[in-house]
């Protein structure tokens, strides 16, 4: 086994290295191809979402209507542009946001089975929504249609900020975060149950429905807000990609590379908070996308964040778009809450992933 670097100059040695380098580049290129393929998948899924719905709009009309809205009758224009298009875009954005948050969360918690709601965010958001629905409490200044989402957002963000405070106080290791997150989740859950107990029938129904997660509330302003949040966080996630990849090798190792690990974790948590809180505020609780998206992405393109992030985002977006389609088609005439669909599909997929993981390790 040649250990000394002295033979480095020899031509055989060089060509061996060259070969390996070419092989490495090929793998990298393959990964980018996968990413582009996923982008195409997301577009197809979004189009499918646009094509489905109770109003029987033929495909060519939809396509024409996208480019030249006036080719449609007035009601159909509203159907396409005010109903279906916001829903389709919201599906893409929520899927992207949750998957992005999930990818980052799985890295900073060193747990491939973590998702943005592992830290009790969804329960806190539900608590916020419940306060708005049952007691009409909310952020002053928000009213009407904004009362519930604003409150859900504030509580979701608040719970994650609380987590940051705990982490700062006790040290931001992965385990600490999870434990505190669980504690916050349970507390929120208890308060939520109390609210459900005193809620009127009306409010209760609304609350339960909100908890199931639904894209039906999407309109252009909420789509715009979520797009803004995703648009702002994505560049930061991208910039941190190399450092997050190093984090996969372990805290100490990453630190020895010169990376400020606690700062990295803190900022990642900020990004995760924004994404999860905004997603939940507008759509309610959607499970599994933040878990399955990055997981599948990891199986396709590996752990390196430079590929993992775009892949996760695109898979998440596609998943939600497809879930939206299924929610419209599964029971004829009924629009299922999309959170139910992701749970129904997500569970077997999740189990499948777990079994596969087991067999890979065995």
């Amino acid at each position: 086994m040649d250990v000394s670097p002295q033979a480095a100059g020899s031509p055989e040695h060089q060509s061996v290295l060259q070969e390996r380098w070419i092989a490495h580049r090929r793998i990298v290129r393959k990964r980018w191809f996968v990413v582009f393929g996923l982008a195409a998948l997301a577009i197809v899924a979004a189009l499918l979402d646009l094509f489905t719905g109770p109003a029987a709009l033929p495909v060519n009309k939809v396509l024409h209507g996208l480019f030249d809205p006036d080719t449609l009758s007035r009601p159909m224009k509203v159907v396409l542009w005010q109903v279906r298009l916001p829903v389709a875009l919201m599906a893409l954005l929520v899927g992207a946001a949750l998957a992005l948050a999930g990818a980052e969360m799985q890295t900073i918690l060193s747990n491939p089975l973590a998702e943005p709601f592992t830290l009790g965010v969804s329960t806190s958001a539900a608590l916020g929504a419940a306060l708005a629905i049952v007691l009409d409490w909310g952020v002053p200044g928000t009213g009407g249609a904004w009362l519930v989402p604003a409150n859900a957002f504030v509580f979701a963000l608040g719970s994650l900020l609380l987590l940051q405070v705990f982490a700062h106080w006790r040290g931001a290791q992965a385990q600490t975060l999870v434990l505190f997150g669980i504690a916050i989740g349970f507390t929120s859950g208890a308060c939520l149950s109390l609210l459900q107990f005193i809620a009127s029938e009306d409010a209760l129904q609304q609350l339960v429905f909100w908890n199931m997660g639904s894209l039906a509330r999407a309109d252009w302003s909420s789509v715009g807000m979520l797009a803004a949040v995703v648009g702002v966080t994505l560049p930061f996630s991208w910039r941190a990609a190399a450092q997050m990849t190093s984090l996969r090798l372990g805290d100490e190792r990453a630190r020895s590379f010169g990376i400020d690990v606690s700062s990295l974790r803190r900022w990642a948590l900020v990004r995760i908070s924004l994404l999860a809180a905004t997603g939940v505020a507008f759509v309610g609780t959607i499970g599994f996308v933040g878990l399955v998206g990055p997981h599948v992405a990891r199986m396709l393109v590996g752990d390196g964040h430079r590929h993992l992030l775009p892949a996760s985002v695109l898979i998440g977006a596609s998943l939600m778009a497809l879930a939206s389609v299924v929610s419209k088609l599964l029971v004829p005439g009924v629009l299922l809450p999309v959170g139910i669909v992701t749970a129904l599909i997500g569970l077997p997929v999740f189990l499948g992933l777990m079994l596969r993981r087991r067999s890979m390790q065995a």
């Binding site: 086994m1 040649d2 250990v3 000394s4 670097p5 480095a8 040695h13 061996v16 290295l17 390996r20 380098w21 092989a23 490495h24 793998i27 060193s110 910039r239 190399a242 450092q243 990849t245 190093s246 996969r248 090798l249 372990g250 100490e252 190792r253 630190r255 020895s256 590379f257 010169g258 990376i259 400020d260 990891r298 590996g302 752990d303 390196g304």
Partner: protein, 274 residues
Amino acid sequence: MTPLLTFEVHDLDVSYRNRCVLSGISLPRVQAGEIIALVGPNAAGKSTFLKAIAGLVHATGRIELSGQDCLGWSVRERARHIGFMPQALPEDTSLTVLEGTLAALLGPGGRITRADELRALEMIESLGIGELALQPLMQLSGGQRQLAALAQAVVRGSPLVLLDEPVSALDLAHQWEVMNVARGLAAEGRIVMVVLHDLTLAAQWADRIAILHQRSIHSFGIPDEVITERALQDVWGVAARVRTCEQGRPYVLVDGPAGFAPHTFTSFEKTERL
């Protein structure tokens, strides 16, 4: 590698949660090209010492690298000068050996160039795991993973290399390889500090040995002077025999716990076998 590379430690104190882990550690000047072995019983603070130098735990005192005090350095600054290989193997990840090495090379960020990739491949090759360059770390054996971790620690070319129990999971052949790499690194003009449990291994490869005992340095010097039967009894609490091999290096044979007299043990007649 700066020709004036030196390393010394003055009065280093490390506390963790109000408990004193290291107290008054001082190391006289170490020159470039030296391999220093850190030995001692469990929980003596060997890993902590290395981590303190690497900046992973908080310490007070003075650590001088080429005359500059490292304790004031930022994380990035330290990474530039110090390469650290932690005790734990890299976690379960599908990152390849090459990707791990590249991550180490890049540190806090920057773009990966072709030159970087080739340099990383070079490093991996020189450690003898060249064929595994594109294998995911999770699929490697313990020994291979340790070599990959070694690549990550040294690829940046840092003048001071700290290895925390680099051979713990390795078989004899790989142990030899790692120590040989350390020897090679030292020959390049770096300073290598290695934490080892195996005294014989330490005595064979190190230029000087530091024994850590009860939170401070018990002794520091060339293997012959430091590895004595007396030291083995006082520090490790074992009765042992120290012999010298043909190369002039000591090796250690442990008979039993301190105070053990072979004749009181009826079933094994160890002394006869010698």
